[in-house]
Amino acid sequence: MPAVQETVERVKRIDVDQYRYGFETLIDSEKAPKGLSEEIVKFISQKKNEPAWMLQWRLEAYRRWLTMQEPTWARVDYPKIDFQDLYYYAAPKPKKTVTSLDEIDPEILKTYEKLGIPLREVAMLEGVEPKVGEDDPARRKIAVDAVFDSVSVATTFKAELKKAGVIFMPISEAIREHPELVQKYLGSVVPTSDNFYATLNSAVFSDGSFVYVPPGVRCPMELSTYFRINERNTGQFERTLIIADKGSYVSYLEGCTAPQRDENQLHAAVVELVAHDDAEIKYSTVQNWYPGNSEGKGGIYNFVTKRGDCRGDRSKISWTQVETGSAITWKYPSCILRGDNSSGEFYSIAISNGFQQVDSGTKMIHLGKNTSSRIISKGIAAGKSQNTYRGLVTAHRKATGARNFTACDSLLIGDKCGAHTVPYIEAKNSSATFEHEATTSKISEDVLFYCIQRGLSQEEAVGLVVNGFVKDVLQQLPMEFAVEAQKLISISLEGSVG
């Protein structure tokens, strides 16, 4: 596996702290004053030139948020967040409207270049496309929406997508250009009142991606959003809304990184997916927010609400996630299986090292008849981290013939970490078939020694064994992401043994 070799090379190039995305971009930025109030909500709405209904929506969410309590049921421990001590809006100093990458601050472009994000497709954006016949099938095109702090800085391949009828744009733009779609769907999967962080997001979200795939259209390329938090003390509250109309298909990728900082940063996103009859949405995440240093200082608090609604019959939503970053992860990408014969999938790899705390899993809510769901979760705990799988599978009274298969496997590396599995299973009708399997194992000294005796270094051996452990899930990722994820897994486990 050349990837293993390459990983080790990379790890060696990285200094003491292995987080390789920890740099900061020095650019002028415009920030709202610290703290949260109706004024700030209005300020954000105004900055985005939003219509009145949008502002009302936000204000209602804000007022509700004031009455809500932070949830405490997750198995995570952190000091109380002072929500008045954060910035809720930060944007790179604007250069009016940006029509090509040339007009984007070169420092930002450099940032994405360093991160290896293909905004480099500058040429593509400018209309210089590969000639017919020169298309390299191995390098499939990916359209990218890059979100820097609170704003989307670039979206590539817009024109080509438009030809297919696909709308892919920053949500702030969609609110202005496609208000009827946004009004119809925003908050229809995750209501503004859903939970503390989702409500906060509804009040202050500043940008994110919007996707609409019209009936019968197979989106011609992978869509991707890349999130980057740069500013100090800034929360990132992005909002993503993806709608797959009847019989359509879209695959969407999401990546995240942040600079290394001593203080904690807050990320509270909301993602809503809607799949109509016979539509399919595949949503993949490689989350690599800064996890904090080896003493547990700093890192991102990742409190995210992701939910998909299989609204139509025979619709399908599939979540795949590779979680290696964040000091705290609180995240349960879920599926509401409303349409008859709809299906939901959740494939997850959650890796924790150092002092990271992960509480993640999924909810499969079976409402329609003959709905099916599948959950494959692989948790890997190393260092002094705590890794919890928390999942809910439920079948309603009317969800006759509902089926679920769940497999949760945990792997422990070392003896100072913990893995926990908390499944909730509810069947309200007697025809539901639910299967649950769970295993916990320790990476065995004998296996490591066997690999090392064959010439692998300790790090290579751990990387190999772990990559084998998560293989079922890696296979679910789009090719480009799978390779990257494989490397990421080895990097995040650097120094976890011995």
């Binding site: 070799q5 090392i452 064959r454 010439g455 064994v465 293989k471």
Partner: protein, 250 residues
């Protein structure tokens, strides 16, 4: 020329001394058999040579090609040419055997400053060797040793030996869990690797294995020491008279 020199080796595991001053010299091209009852320290010796953690060397030394082996990490030893065929090869789910072979081989080559194998060269080599060992190609696509029979696991060990071309092969109880046919295939594989530059140390309880892999020298171990050495006829003698006589000698 001496390939492996173990001199007055004393080894402890958790405060208990297992080897009490073991001396052994293996020259290039020779096949040595180490026999002895359970608990005599045979496996400990193989583990210490390979560098398995958990053993404390309190005295003595091990030289390999004149270099101090105990100073090297286990992966360095592997790259230098020390190969241990495990009594119980481990399973590594999700890692295809082919991937494992290639990763290991290239790691060793890299450590020696050699270029990595190209894919076609590597595949060709694996195919050749696996064919001679009667290893079907689809076995190489499965997870390392996952769902392999006892015989397949041992053949997989011999396959690796053939690929990595080590100068010292230690075979730890290779006959355990094998029926006669499986044993013959594995032993044929081993015999094909005998060469004037390569030495082998064959650890076994029973004389049976030595009918297939015929040793140049036989050592009898008891209570952490080599108590008697001789030619291949020593093995037959043991088979007839048992180990009890040596327990008294030690």
């Amino acid at each position: 020329m001496a390939l492996l020199e173990v001199k007055d080796l004393k080894v402890r595991v958790e405060e208990r001394e297992i080897l009490h001053g073991l001396t052994l010299t293996v020259n290039e091209g020779e096949v040595h058999a180490i026999m002895g009852p359970n608990g005599s320290g045979k496996s400990t010796l193989s583990h210490v040579i390979a560098g398995k953690p958990g053993y404390e060397v309190t005295d003595g030394q091990i030289l390999f090609k004149g270099e101090d082996l105990l100073e090297m990490s286990p992966d360095e030893r592997a790259a230098k040419g020390v190969f241990l065929a495990f009594q119980y090869p481990v399973e590594i789910p999700g890692v295809a055997t082919m991937t494992f072979l290639r990763t290991a081989l290239n790691a060793q080559r890299k450590a020696r400053g050699e270029s990595e194998y190209s894919t076609p060269d590597f595949l060709k080599k694996v195919r050749e060797v696996s064919k001679s060992l009667n290893i079907p190609q689809d076995m190489l696509k499965r997870g390392v040793n996952v769902g392999f029979s006892g015989g397949e696991k041992k053949r997989n060990e011999v396959l690796q030996m053939a690929l990595f071309e080590p100068s010292l092969c230690i075979l730890d109880e290779m006959d355990s869990g094998l029926d006669i046919d499986a044993l013959r295939i594995a032993a044929d594989g081993v015999n094909a690797l005998r060469s004037p530059k390569r030495a082998m140390v064959v650890i076994t309880h029973y004389q049976r294995l030595l009918n297939y892999i015929v040793p140049d020298v036989v050592h009898v171990m008891s209570k952490g020491r080599v108590v008697k050495s001789g030619g291949k006829e020593l093995a037959l003698e043991l088979e007839a008279s048992g180990y009890a006589q040596f327990e008294d000698a030690a």
